[in-house]
Structures are given as structure tokens and as C-alpha cells.
């Protein structure tokens, strides 16, 4: 009986420790910073964000362009936490009123902001300037990301309420300015003439880092990407 009790106790300690360690393994990807995620609008500073998020996915449900995804076990403590892969499907503020922030029950997406202009997810940077069509003086025709690209975007001039596939909206441009043309924030990015033929996008302070430019950029790899949690001040 005593022996049985002792075995049960040892077993309890072993399994208790194993379960605790399994959970603490979630620390590894976090301390190693093995991933950098673009968080939805309004997200708190990363450590606080992981703490405050209750992993329910209500932000996923309200997003009209389905930009928000929940992370898998590889993210450790970030399991079930929302993020956006801008190149695949960016947030284009089709919802107008930061619906994900309003949906968040814990304030992990901070209720301090109510307008898309207040969002700071990061900042757009010309990370691959040589790939930029405008800088090469080239135009663009056809669907921005090819006919098979599943990403969607709201084109106000076509349908004010409903986003449509980017593949269904071909362009015919003498000089590519897609990143400027489709940017949902007024004054966040402009195109500047370099000479008679060439031009370059210039990111302004108003940029919120939503990633729309990264999604629409026809270059491969994209000429413009989001510096996640970066700031315009720090980049200029």
C-alpha cells in the first residue's frame, strides 16, 4: 500500500512536470524570436499582446477580407493569436471602422483607436527598390498578382461595400503606381518623379503599415514590404 502510494506520487510529479514543461515549451519560439508577425490593427506591444489576447478569433470573424489568421503551435505562446500575412491577403480597411478592434473582448487590439488613420502596425519600406517597376520606368498591364491570385480588395469605384478578387480587376498603366493607387490611407504614400521616365514611391508619415502595397505590388519579390512594428520616424 505504501509502495503503491509512493509510485502514485512519483507518477503525479512526473506527469505534472511533463504537462508544465509542454506548456512552457511555448516560450522557445517567443524568446528565440523565431517569427515576426504582422498583428491586426490596434495590437498592443508584442509581449502585452500575447498576454492580453484570449485566443478566440472574433477578429478573424469580422474581417471582411479574411486577412486575419490564427497562428499554429509553432508560435508557442502565440498559439491561436491573430496575425496577417500581408503578401497573401492584406488588411485594406474594407470594414471602414476597424471592426477587429471593436470585436476584441480583451483590449489586446486596443480600443484606444477608432479610426484607421490612428493604426500603427508597422511602416511600408521600399525593401527591393530594384524590383520596383516605376523606378525602372515601366508600366503595368493585366491583373496585379496574376490570374490565380486569391487575394481580395475593395475597389470603391466598383463596389463601395463588397471587396472583389484582385485577379478580376486588371490594370492598364503607363507607369506602375499600384502601391499609391490602392493605398487605403490618404497621404500615406505618393509617387515622385525621378526623371522623365522613372518615378519612385515615397512613404509618408501617415503610413499605418496595413500592407496593402505589399499585397498589390506586381514585382516578385515585392518591391515594397512592411517593416513590422517599425516606425516612419525610425526609418527616415
Amino acid at each position: 500500500m505504501i509502495d503503491q502510494d509512493r509510485r502514485r506520487l512519483i507518477r503525479s510529479l512526473l506527469f505534472g512536470a511533463a504537462v508544465t514543461n509542454a506548456a512552457l515549451a511555448g516560450y522557445l519560439p517567443v524568446v528565440r524570436r523565431s517569427y515576426v508577425r504582422l498583428r491586426p490593427p490596434g495590437a498592443l506591444e508584442e509581449h502585452e499582446f500575447l498576454a492580453a489576447c484570449i485566443k478566440c478569433g472574433q477578429c478573424v470573424q469580422v474581417c471582411p477580407v479574411k486577412a486575419i489568421k490564427l497562428a499554429d503551435a509553432g508560435d508557442g505562446f502565440g498559439l491561436g493569436v491573430p496575425h496577417i500575412e500581408a503578401r497573401t491577403q492584406a488588411c485594406d480597411f474594407s470594414c471602414d471602422a476597424v471592426q477587429c478592434v471593436l470585436a476584441c473582448p480583451t483590449g489586446a487590439l486596443s480600443h484606444d483607436l477608432s479610426k484607421k488613420e490612428q493604426v500603427r502596425m508597422g511602416v511600408a519600406v521600399l525593401s527591393n527598390p530594384d524590383g520596383c517597376l516605376a523606378r525602372q520606368g515601366r508600366g503595368f498591364s493585366g491583373p496585379a498578382r496574376g490570374a490565380a491570385f486569391p487575394g481580395i480588395h475593395r475597389y470603391s469605384e466598383i463596389n463601395r461595400w463588397k471587396p472583389i478578387p484582385i485577379a478580376d480587376h486588371p490594370y492598364q498603366l503607363d507607369l506602375c503606381d499600384l502601391c499609391v493607387r490602392e493605398c487605403p490611407i490618404t497621404g500615406a504614400i505618393r509617387i515622385e518623379r525621378l526623371d522623365e521616365h522613372r518615378a519612385t514611391p515615397v512613404v509618408e508619415k501617415a503610413c499605418v503599415g496595413c500592407g496593402m502595397c505589399e499585397m498589390i505590388c506586381p514585382a516578385e519579390p515585392p518591391a515594397i514590404t512592411i517593416d513590422i512594428r517599425g516606425t516612419w520616424e525610425a526609418r527616415s
Binding site: 509581449h47 500575447l50 490564427l70 503551435a73 509553432g74 491561436g80 483590449g107
Partner: protein, 322 residues
Amino acid sequence: MNRMVEDFAVMLGRTPDKPAHCTPEATRMLAAKRTPEAVIERRRCIAGEKDHKPNHFWRNWRWVSIIAVNLLFVLSYRIDIQVVEGALTASRFVGFHMADLNSALQVMLAYKHVVINLVIGTGTVLIFWLLLGGRSFCAWVCPYHLLSEIAEQVHLKLAAKKIVGDHALHRGTRTVLWLVFAGLAIVTGYTVFEVISPVGILSRAFTYGASLALLWVAFLLVIEIVYSRRFWCRYICPIGLTYGVVGAFSPVRVVYDMEKCLHEGKCRKVCLVPHVLGMTRLGYASDVKRAVGADCTRCGMCVEVCPSRALRFEIKGLDKLL
């Protein structure tokens, strides 16, 4: 009051003991049950109930409940019926905030800041389960409970053939782990437990699609089949303990009637938490009528299996009201 403290201690891990004090009625009834004539009569009764087949009335309703609740979450998103949006960790039920008590606790301890929506969500759910029996969350809503029940049937079949054995843990393990995970949330500032919570993992997988994290749930089920019966729910899950504490004050409960009891122990064999049925052993009841302890999940299996109807559901105060 003493009884409540005793029930609480048993929930935290103490082994139920013979009561130090019994009511005079219980003492008298026990003495009457121990007379040779009563023993012979009891054996006759037990022999006569050989063909008592437990119906699965409560189990069937429970399974309907678990499947319906989880399906509502899925359909609310997938076909946009918008009844209950989110996951079991937190949701909106027709627009009203709801938050799982344990998930909310983890967030509060890790983030150390509570927004009003979370207060509303947690408060609503707290009152709901306070009224409906605390751990009834486990038996009536938790999707892992249903999977675990199926794994348990497999375990019992294999155990009957002596292919696998049941390795019990000390029930205090869950109490220690509850404290460990609360402490880790405070110290690290992360919701550490959510990484391994099968409730969150399953609920999100149903609604948002399969994830690798499901392998953890599968692993737990394998442990429950081959090594330790109902391992997670019995010895580990801090969610169960959180709801158990809430259930301690609930009017919905199972009550025990010593007079009808034949002390066969069928109820304890089917029970997820047999320690709450400690009083069904001859000489262990401190009163002739006892409410089953807070750790009870209100699953109703003991009610179904008891041939003499010594256990039944009761809503405290309702019989007086009617």
C-alpha cells in the same frame, strides 16, 4: 458549513474519510442497515436487480448539448448565422460578451489589466455556471469531455481484456497545476496554459480549421486509452477546478438518499470523479440525505446507473417552491 469545507478539501485532493460526526438519523439508519436481517434483505434486493439496464437518458442529452453548442460556434462563422461568435475561450452570444472563466483568469493574471468587456463576459459566464452547476461546463459543453468519454470506453474495453491498466495519479496534482499555471501567468506575463488547453485548441480547430496543435489533443487521448483513465479531466485540467469552485455554490446538483442506497458502488465505477460519491459507501454518509460535492460534473451517469434511485438531480429550493 463544515461540510462545504470538507467537500472543498476533497475537490482539492483529499481522500474522503469516514465522517467524524454523523447526524442522529444517519447513525440510527446505519445501525439498522447493519443488522443481519437488513444485510440479508439488501443482498436479496441486489440479486433481484440483475437485469437492471442503465438507460442513457442524461448521457444522450449531454452529447446533444456538447455537439449542439460546439456546432453553433462553427455554424455561426461558417454559414454566418451569428448566434455565438468566437471560440470557447471567449465569444459573443447574440452580441453579449462571454468569456471562459479560466481563459479570462489567465489573461487577467498575465496582462494585469482588465477591460470592461472582459469583466462583463466573465461575470455573465460566472453567473451562468453558478446557477447551472459549475463543472456542468465539463460534462455539457466541453468538446474534449466528449472525446475523452469515447477514449474511456476504449480504455475500459482494453482494460477488461487486461491489455492496458489504469494508472492513477494523486488528485492533488490538478490543484498544484492550477497554482503553477496561475503563477506562471503572473511571472512570465504569458497565458502559458492556453498552449496546452485542449478546450481552446479543439474549439478553434472546429471553427477556423485544423491545426498542428491537434496532435497534442490526440496525444492526451492516447495516454487516456493506454495508460491512465480520464487522465486529463481527473488529474490535470485547471479549467475543471476553476469551474468546480464556482459549482460549490450551485443549486443544481446530484443528491444522495442513504435510505434507498444498497451500497453496491456501481455509481463510483462509472463516475469521472468518484471521490464525490464517497458517502455512498456504507458508513461514510454523515447524513441520510447529502448533496454530492462540488467536483461533480453533473453528468448524470450515477443517476442512470443506480438501480435503486438513491441518486437523483435536484435544484436546491425548487421543491420547496413548487
